[in-house]
């Protein structure tokens, strides 16, 4: 042991590597408030990635306020034990043992336990302590425990566990000074050899006996269970009110996203358009002006305007998740999901797929059964993700009249939008049933779902979530969409034609490279009611759905005949109602998202599944769009 605690900042480089802390791992059972604590300790200095080869999300962040600048905190997935029951637990064990490639071996461990259910939570502490790393045990939600009449002696517990113990509240940020204290102590000397009696590891019964003995010896008095959550569940899980309120919540979310989000999007769009006019005189050269403003800027801003609505949707799903309502929704949905052969747990990824399929597919890792998980992954892209919103909203605004029913409470536009959501959901359920009764047939897996207590979501965690999402969206707009619009603009302007007088000018849009390409594929898409411009849009939207809107923006912006019109009016002149509805249905069913395909490929570890998924969805989309176009044309003449 070294003599004294030196200031870590001036640590000489000759210190043996075991003395300096580099990597700290945060582990805890699900719903123990681990993520809140992680956000507290790292703030915005975190990065989210995936562990190589598996789908488990890896969250890392630099810790602030400890005295080191390079101290990395790794947030492990929430696990009940280190028994490899799920992929999450396998990853946790590998990281803890330093066997995860690309992840540094941890120097210390912070265990977060929910003090409301300490006895059960201590069962995780046993295998972690057995690893022999310097360990700090944090008892979270201690304020709630004390408020409800519970108590525990942290000193006695520390003695029993052979590790420092602190009572904290991650939500309020109290007691957190124990973390830097612990880390600075351990950066100067190694963990003292502990003499512990640990249970037979891997044996649940023995671990439970050990945990209950410890909690008894440390005077742990469990708080009364929350009456509030129970009372709320009396209503939210009521036989009649439960499902009804569930529907109200879902419809309400969409209503708010459209009624509040639409003016926000319009306002934002106006600001973006004005910005373009402000910089127009500053750019020299008419072709450069055209490239930057009519090509790139118009394309990007037609997608950017949907940022407020998408963030609003993510906000609602975040609130539902953080309050603990999503688990109840899974419970309510279990009966319906069962008819498809899946269980209620598959419902949580499906619901979050309303925001984006990529995190939803990653969230399927909570499904223990491999075949169930595969089926869920395959049907997830049918759920109406936020990238479809720009396309739907553009087409609905252009083609569906703004009529309201029931004294203005329900608009036709909202109904059409809801219909598209329902179409996606029905397609997902039917496909799940088909898969589960054929290729992915399996014995039914147990449905074990913990209902967490209702919690108030913190602004902090919601804020971090929204900033993350906005970053992803803006990165997409700045890279993929920017490139696509620039390429499109160039393709729409070559080959250049000679004009009398020796100067060059752009060709007619129909004569340009892109125009010829569009005309080439027109025979395939004409039966669906799409013209060649839509065809170009469909080709470009294979990258990402929202690219469709920017492509349309660029194409109609490049065409002198429609340049002056807004995109909505231009489309209205160019398409029939049948074609527009067919286009919406096409977008509801087709798999136009390279990020989703990449994530499916990583999940399933083969190209076979994403290829199958792409082909299946494309055929379904084509056939449905064909049917819709012809039915609508027959009805409305």
């Amino acid at each position: 042991m070294s003599t004294c605690c030196t200031t870590p900042a001036f640590e000489p480089p000759s210190t043996p590597p075991s003395g300096a802390l580099r990597t700290v791992v945060l582990i805890g059972p699900p719903n123990s408030g681990k993520s809140t604590l992680f956000n507290r300790l790292t703030g915005l200095r975190q990065k989210v990635a995936n562990y190589p080869g598996v789908t488990v999300e890896q969250r890392m962040g630099l810790m602030a306020g400890v005295g080191h600048d390079d101290l990395t905190l790794i947030d492990l997935p929430g696990v009940y034990s280190l028994t490899p029951y799920s992929e999450d637990a396998r990853v946790a064990v590998d990281v803890l043992k330093g066997k995860m490639p690309g992840t540094p071996k941890p120097d210390a461990v912070i265990v977060v336990l929910d003090s409301l259910h300490l006895t059960r939570q201590l069962m995780l502490a046993a295998p972690v302590l057995a690893l022999g790393l310097p360990t700090l045990v944090l008892l979270n939600m201690s304020d709630l425990m004390e408020a409800r009449g519970g108590s525990v002696d942290p000193l006695k517990l520390a003695k029993e566990l052979g590790a420092p113990v602190a009572l904290i509240s991650a939500t309020h940020g109290t007691g957190l000074d124990a973390v830097p204290l612990f880390l600075n102590q351990h950066s100067s000397h190694q963990a003292a050899a502990r003499q512990l009696t640990l249970p037979v590891l891997g044996n649940a019964a023995s671990t439970h006996t050990w945990a209950s003995q410890i909690s008894r010896r440390t005077g742990y008095h469990a708080p009364l269970s929350a009456a509030g959550s129970r009372k709320l569940d009396n209503i939210l899980l009521h036989r009649i009110w439960g499902p009804l309120l569930f529907l109200v919540v879902v419809v309400g979310v969409f209503e708010v996203v459209f009624s509040i989000g639409q003016p926000m999007a319009d306002g934002f769009g106006e600001i973006l358009a004005r910005a373009a006019e402000l910089i127009r005189p500053l750019i020299p050269g008419s072709w450069l002006q055209s490239l930057l403003l009519d090509g790139a800027w118009k394309g990007i801003s037609s997608v950017l305007v949907f940022l407020p609505q998408i963030l609003l949707l993510f906000l609602f799903i975040g609130v539902l998740e953080d309050t603990g309502y999503l688990a109840r929704a899974a419970l309510i949905a279990d009966r319906v999901m069962r008819t498809t052969g899946l269980n209620g747990k598959a419902f949580i990824p499906l619901l979050s797929a309303y925001a984006c399929a990529v995190p939803a597919i990653m969230a399927t890792r909570t499904i223990e059964n491999k075949r169930d998980r595969m089926a869920t992954i395959l049907v997830t892209p049918f759920m109406t993700c936020s990238a479809r919103l720009p396309v739907y909203m553009l087409l609905i605004a252009a083609f569906i009249p703004n009529v309201t029913y029931l004294h203005g409470a329900l608009g036709l536009r909202t109904l059409v939008m809801l219909g598209l959501y329902v179409a996606g959901f029905v397609a997902a359920m039917t496909t799940a049933w088909l898969l589960k009764s054929s290729v992915l047939k399996s014995s039914e897996t147990p449905f074990i779902l913990e209902l967490p207590q209702y919690r108030m979501p913190t602004l902090r965690s919601l804020g971090i979530r929204l900033i993350d999402r906005a970053k992803v969206f803006l990165r997409q707009a700045g890279t993929v969409i920017l490139c696509v619009t620039l390429v499109l603009w160039v393709l729409a302007h070559i080959p250049v034609v000679h004009v009398a007088g020796g100067s060059f000018s752009a060709p007619e849009l129909a004569d340009s490279v892109i125009g010829r390409l569009g005309h080439f594929i027109e025979p395939i898409i004409a039966p669906l009611g799409f013209n060649w411009k839509i065809g170009i849009g469909l080709l470009s939207s294979v990258l990402a759905r929202e690219v469709m809107v920017s492509t349309m923006g660029t194409l109609y912006g490049a065409d002198p005949g429609t340049q002056a019109l807004t995109l909505q009016n231009a489309l209205h002149h160019d398409m029939t109602l049948g074609g527009a509805l067919a286009l919406m249905i096409f977008f509801a069913f087709a798999m136009q998202c390279t990020s989703t395909m990449a994530v499916v490929r990583r999940e399933t570890n083969s190209w076979k599944w994403p290829a199958f998924q792409f082909a299946y969805m494309l055929v379904l989309a084509y056939v449905s769009a064909f049917a819709v176009n012809h039915i609508v044309a027959a009805i409305f003449g």
């Binding site: 009940y80 649940a204 019964a205 469990a222 959550s229 129970r230 569940d233 209902l451």
Partner: protein, 129 residues
């Protein structure tokens, strides 16, 4: 009737009421004609039982034990899901939903076995009287 479920009283109480007061009902006092349940799925909402053993696949069993379904744990059937199937059980202060077929694999201690367990205690109580 909603039950107060408290982990602290694990396996010791047989009945409790709104106030959180728990009364110990000794076997000889148990009313006649009481329903005998042998597996968890047979519990009605509001009833409670003590886990005897788990009869499920190894991995599921392990998972359930880490969630609190260990022998001697007191389980209360809290509510059924709106559609009637997954039932929410309260164990160790946590609420956990299980489907009928999973709950069927969790055996509860039969009252007879408890009688023999408590036989000495019973004699003691009678001797005191």
């Amino acid at each position: 009737m909603p039950q107060v479920c408290n982990s602290d009283l694990n396996g010791r109480i047989l009945k409790s009421d709104y106030s959180g007061r728990s009364s110990r009902v000794l076997p000889f006092r148990r009313p006649r004609g009481v329903r005998q349940v042998s597996v968890l799925s047979e519990l009605n909402v509001g009833e409670s039982g003590v886990v005897a053993a788990l009869n499920l696949p190894e991995s599921v069993q392990n998972h359930l034990m880490h969630m609190g379904f260990v022998p001697d744990a007191l389980v209360v059937a809290l509510r059924r899901a709106p559609a009637g199937d997954p039932t929410v059980y309260c164990v160790d202060g946590m609420e956990i939903a299980l489907r009928h077929e999973t709950a069927e694999g969790i055996r509860l201690r039969s009252p007879e076995a408890e009688n023999s367990d408590n036989a000495s205690e019973l004699e003691l109580v009678q001797a005191v009287r």
